[in-house]
């Protein structure tokens, strides 16, 4: 399999050979930032297009068909439209916080995005506390949402933001517990090591029952974390207009929209990294020929394939279930997912201590 790390190391050495250390470092940083931000924006565009097409398929429609072949350029047209729309700001809003909110939301999702391992060695941030950093970075997005709702001086935004805050912090606990289950199983928090440990079998197979339970809980909690249906109370359009971003327009709104879609990608990406093996190909012990063939498929294809499969699952959920009530959302988390998650963690600990894992 291709190790992307060799390419980055070679580039690093080449840059250091032709220019002084400081300049090489600066140039590398700019290159990395440029690639990451471009990937971020392009994936957001792919996600928006996919959402529309999947939604259309579930409702027996065609979706966007007019702009470009098969509607492929529709999202680009929409982004351009968003750029030329007027940015309206409200007279009695808190201007500083109002303008600060999109920065926080986008920053949180960009930081989380840069932790995802797209292929071997193809990862921007690889801390030894990787999954912990992911939790920390993704949890300050809720701050931006609360600021957006508060500073808009609009009752819809206010209610939407507070609902969103209550929901996101609640479901974060379940996400934390599911990640803990995997950390207990693997004994490491570094993302690259987590994926490396799944080469001979994905964690969802290695950890059998507790890992599978954790995967299901993670999908539910992750769906709630991204504020999508059936957990879209913060922006329930029939009751709250647009929730916390009611007063945002044009590109201001666009950043919330992009961050929301990328959060879906990130949730799916983390699910595929922790449970479905990230870029590690499917290996079955004892089937040497099968494993060898699977190794020919590049890691990035594995990662994106798994991620888009999980995204497709979440979209299926979104377009199938009706919206929940706020008391149902809260009791689902506190009375079901959290106790189940705690017990699940205990079961996984017992399995690991007694050696009942594959």
């Amino acid at each position: 399999m291709l190790d992307f790390g060799t390419i980055t190391t070679a580039t690093d050495q080449y840059l250091h050979s032709v220019m002084p250390t400081q300049a090489a470092l600066l140039l590398e940083c700019i290159l990395v930032a440029l690639c990451a931000v471009l990937a971020y924006v392009m994936l957001a565009i792919v996600m928006i297009f996919m959402e529309r097409k999947v939604c259309a398929a579930f409702q027996c429609r065609l979706g966007p068909m007019r702009v470009g072949v098969w509607g492929l350029l529709q999202v680009f047209a929409d982004v351009f439209k968003m750029l030329i729309k007027e940015i309206i700001s409200i007279d009695r809003s808190d201007k500083l916080l109002y303008n600060l909110a999109p920065y926080l939301v986008v920053m949180s999702s960009v930081l989380t995005f840069s932790c995802l391992p797209f292929a071997q060695g193809f990862q921007v941030l690889d801390f030894n506390i990787g999954v912990f950093f992911i939790m920390a970075a993704s949890s300050f997005g809720v701050l931006g949402i609360l600021l957006a709702g508060w500073s808009s001086n609009n009752k819809y935004s206010m209610i939407g933001a507070v609902r969103s805050g209550a929901q996101m912090i609640s479901y974060e606990l379940s996400i934390g517990l599911c990640i803990l289950v995997i950390v207990v199983l693997s004994g490491t928090m570094q993302i690259s090591e987590l994926v490396e440990a799944q080469r001979d079998g994905w964690f969802i197979f290695k950890g059998h029952i507790p890992a599978f339970t954790a995967f299901i809980i993670y999908l539910i909690a992750g769906n709630a974390e991204t504020n999508r249906a059936p957990f879209d109370l913060p922006e329930a359009e029939s009751e709250l207009t647009a929730g916390f971003h009611t007063e945002y327009s044009g590109m201001h709104f666009g950043f919330f929209y992009v961050a929301e879609f990328m959060n879906l990608f990130i949730v799916a990406g983390i699910a595929s990294t922790l449970f479905l093996g990230g870029w590690a190909p499917l290996h079955i012990a004892g089937f040497g020929a099968f494993n060898a063939i699977m190794d020919y498929i590049p890691g990035s294809v594995w990662f994106l394939g798994k991620t888009f499969f999980v995204i497709w699952l979440l979209m299926w959920v979104r377009w199938t279930f009706p919206r929940m009530r706020i008391d149902q959302v809260v009791s689902l988390e506190w009375k079901y997912l959290l106790p189940i998650g705690l017990v699940n963690l205990l079961i996984m600990t017992i399995c690991v201590v007694c050696g009942w894992t594959f």
Binding site: A33, P102, M107, L180, G187, W334, V352, V353
Partner: protein, 116 residues
Amino acid sequence: MNFVLLFTMIVASIILVFAGMLVARLISPRTHNRQKGEAYECGIPTQGETWVHFRAGYYLFAILFLMFDIETVFLFPWATIVKELGMKALLGILFFLFILILGLAYAWRKKALEWK
């Protein structure tokens, strides 16, 4: 190197939003009138204050969240060394989770988990 990259990504995300907003502000029209500056409330003039005292129901969940989130922070270092500690880790976590679940049961019993 990781912290340099972390700093790079923070700056990159700020630049991404800033550049987007700058382009949008340059090419988008800008007009102003009094109605436009009002908060949207289905088209009628805004009634009353927005920044008021808010329900305490949200507050209880925030307190509970704090308790369980700190718990997750405590569990992460433990989780990395479960394999090495073996039985000791299991006993430790049983005790820890017992106290936590007691707290959750207390909140449940006191009806702090109901949405009223």
